[in-house]
């Protein structure tokens, strides 16, 4: 085992007497504890000023039939965005109870509800044990990620009710919206409690789109899983497939050729670019500034047509594969990208010039939908929304993947956490992306764009991978199964982390501003619901 870094060694020393086991996987220390100690240790990681651990992911794996064990993993990033550390707890045989860490760590709230729904383990002491993924009409005792649950079970529709939180008092009324909304967007249910104009409470209910992605993964082989990863969230097809491929590549101990790493970087930035540009337009449009939408949706379309010409798919599906990329670009294509982007950059610069001096627009964006830094920290908010609330995290810099270790990159950071800050982060990142793409085109090495895969992974081996998608940090945990299959694939889109804080950003605002606030986060429903 490699030497542990100092901080981790210190943690190990502090809890030596309680540590059950210790291993290092892909350089990430994994510390096993007994379940009765987990709350104390998690709280220590979270609270200690020199560690400031953020819970990045919590998930459970049913190790049956190999071992009669359910294992719960807790991934922490020390000093937000820094080193990774995993805690693990084993529940033996029929044991279904584990202590909830939510009372000390807010970020665990949805993860623990998800674990209960999907794997059937119960977080004891959790403040909110309502169902999350399983809506009220699901039959009792359905825990789909247990190994003895067949993936193609036909569920029977039951009766049930879901209890919303209510605020009572004179003049308080509720406004339910959704799941199906006006406009072309995804389904979700929002329930506002208002007294007069301001929102007093917002309850968000999701998982309408739950398609059983994690279970469907278990039917696929490690190699074929890519095409499912592309469908987790369509707008982030490339980010998700890249993250999945990286996890499988490290499982198979495959080194991707350098040219593939650069091409992946290029495509990932192009995906970021068209989504960010589209968002800037859509946010302005929600503040009734339609001119920006017209320009931005046109630029977005130009990039998507470019992607179609380059890769044969507007969403870059089929480009990533385990071992590299299926599409190589020649130098005239690279020049073509630069020429097209130069045109777009010029238009975008002109547009931002008039955006941020337009008083009637800025007035709508400023102080609207403020997400406080402390709330963002407590929930471990990621990506654009995080950086607009002073959370200095970016996987591209903190855990460089693909070609990012060779490229220079500035991470924009704003403090106010309002809609304007989220627009600013996007605008800055658009310029950063353009700069990264130029660097890639200049530095891209020659060589093959992918390699053949001959290796395989032993069942039970796992790998973790992170990618900074355009919304924020995407995580994949992939555990190999028998014969090149998948035992467990945990998918975490940043939306899952950011959805719960939207209610805090909406507080005190008026309902007509909610679409604007929601758009400024622009979270994925599909990526969240899985």
């Amino acid at each position: 085992m490699d030497k542990l870094n100092e901080r981790v060694q210190e943690i190990v020393n502090t809890f030596k007497d309680r540590l059950v086991d210790l291993e290092q996987i892909q350089g990430i220390p994994v510390l096993y504890f007994k379940k009765e100690n987990i709350l104390e240790i998690a709280a220590y990681l979270h609270k200690t000023p020199s560690l400031r651990g953020t819970l990045s992911l919590q998930w459970a794996v049913d190790l049956n039939p190999v071992k009669p064990v359910h294992r719960i993993y807790y991934l922490f990033s020390l000093e937000s965005g820094g080193d990774w550390l995993i805690l693990a707890v084993d529940l033996m045989e029929k044991d279904r109870l584990f202590p909830s860490i939510t009372p000390k760590i807010q970020a665990a709230k949805w993860y623990e509800r998800e674990i209960r729904d999907m794997v059937g383990l119960i977080p004891v002491g959790h403040p909110d044990l309502r169902r999350l993924v399983r809506h009220e009409h699901w039959p009792k005792g359905t825990h789909v990620l247990k190994k003895d649950f067949p993936w193609n079970t036909v569920l029977e529709r039951k009766e049930g009710t879901y209890s919303y939180r209510h605020i009572e008092g004179e003049g308080v009324f509720e406004v339910p919206v959704g799941p199906i909304h006006a406009g072309i967007i995804e389904p979700g249910h929002f329930r506002f409690s208002v007294a007069g104009e301001p929102i007093m409470q917002l309850e968000i209910r999701l998982f309408w789109k739950h398609r059983g992605i994690e279970k469907v993964f278990e039917n696929l082989s490690l190699i074929n899983g890519v095409s499912l990863a592309e469908k987790v969230s369509g707008d982030t097809s490339f980010g998700h497939s890249l993250c999945y491929c990286q996890a499988v590549e490290s499982l198979l101990s495959v080194e991707v050729p350098p040219r593939a790493e650069y091409l992946r970087t290029l495509f990932l930035e192009l995906e970021r670019l068209h989504n960010h540009i589209g968002d800037v337009g859509a946010i302005c449009n929600d503040a009734a500034y339609a001119l920006a939408l017209a320009h931005c949706s046109q630029m977005k379309e130009q990039i998507m047509q470019l992607l179609d010409r380059l890769a044969g798919h507007r969403f870059l599906r089929g480009v990533n594969r385990v071992g590299g990329v299926a599409v190589d670009l020649d130098s005239s294509q690279l020049d073509g990208i630069l020429a097209e982007l130069a045109k777009i950059e010029e238009v975008f610069k002109d547009l931002t010039e008039i955006l941020f001096v337009n008083a009637s627009l800025i007035d709508r964006l400023e102080t609207t939908g403020v997400l406080k830094e402390q709330t963002a920290r407590d929930y471990g908010v990621l990506g654009v929304a995080g950086r607009a609330s002073n959370i200095n995290r970016d996987v591209r810099r903190d855990h460089p993947f693909a070609a990012y270790r060779h490229l220079s990159l500035k991470v924009p950071l704003y403090q106010y956490g309002d809609v304007r800050a989220r627009v600013r982060v996007r605008v800055d990142e658009i310029h950063e992306s353009l700069s990264i793409i130029r660097q890639v085109c200049r530095q891209i090495p020659k060589g093959p764009a992918s390699i053949e895969i001959f290796s395989s992974a032993p069942a039970g081996k796992w790998a973790l991978s992170a990618v900074e998608g355009w919304r924020g940090e995407i995580l994949y945990f992939v555990m190999a199964g028998e014969n090149g299959g998948i035992h467990r694939c945990k998918v975490r889109d940043p939306s899952f982390v950011n959805w719960p804080v939207l209610q805090y950003a909406a507080l005190g605002n008026i309902i007509p501003d909610f679409p604007l606030i929601n758009k400024s986060f622009n979270l994925s429903y599909a990526g969240n619901d899985l």
Partner: protein
Amino acid sequence: MFRIIKKSLKKGLVTGQYPESVTPVPAVSDAARNKAKLFHRSLTIREVDTGSCNGCEMEMNALMNPMYDAERFGIHIAASPRHADALVVTGPVTFNMEKSLKDVYRSTPEPRLIFALGDCAIDCGMFKNSYAVTGPVEKHIPVDVKIPGCPPRPNEILAALLAVMDRRKKE
């Protein structure tokens, strides 16, 4: 500011700046065409997502951008099914969305034209037989036109819509 206005004026028309669809237009039955006839030269659509990956939504949205500008063909998006002539349904119909889909269908005035957009809506795609999916759309509501693709490109969607409306692009 004036510099930008000047530039915009010089830029000219961007509508139509997209490649023509090269995939064959999906088959449209006479029954579907007859339904569309009732609405003459316009079609008001309500889009219903029953569990898509949001790729199909993005392409529907793209139809409204200045390059495709579907509005010029009388294609509008309605905010409520009660105002819609047609439903465009995406996704494999999840267990959690099944009821909402049926509700929307019931709220749409007859003779409601139903489009199944994307491979998921047509045959559940990769999610066929998953415990969480009860589709395809056809199983729950009658479908008039199927537009295949994952996702279908905006020009393909547009071509299909125009075929149903019996309109040519250059009208």
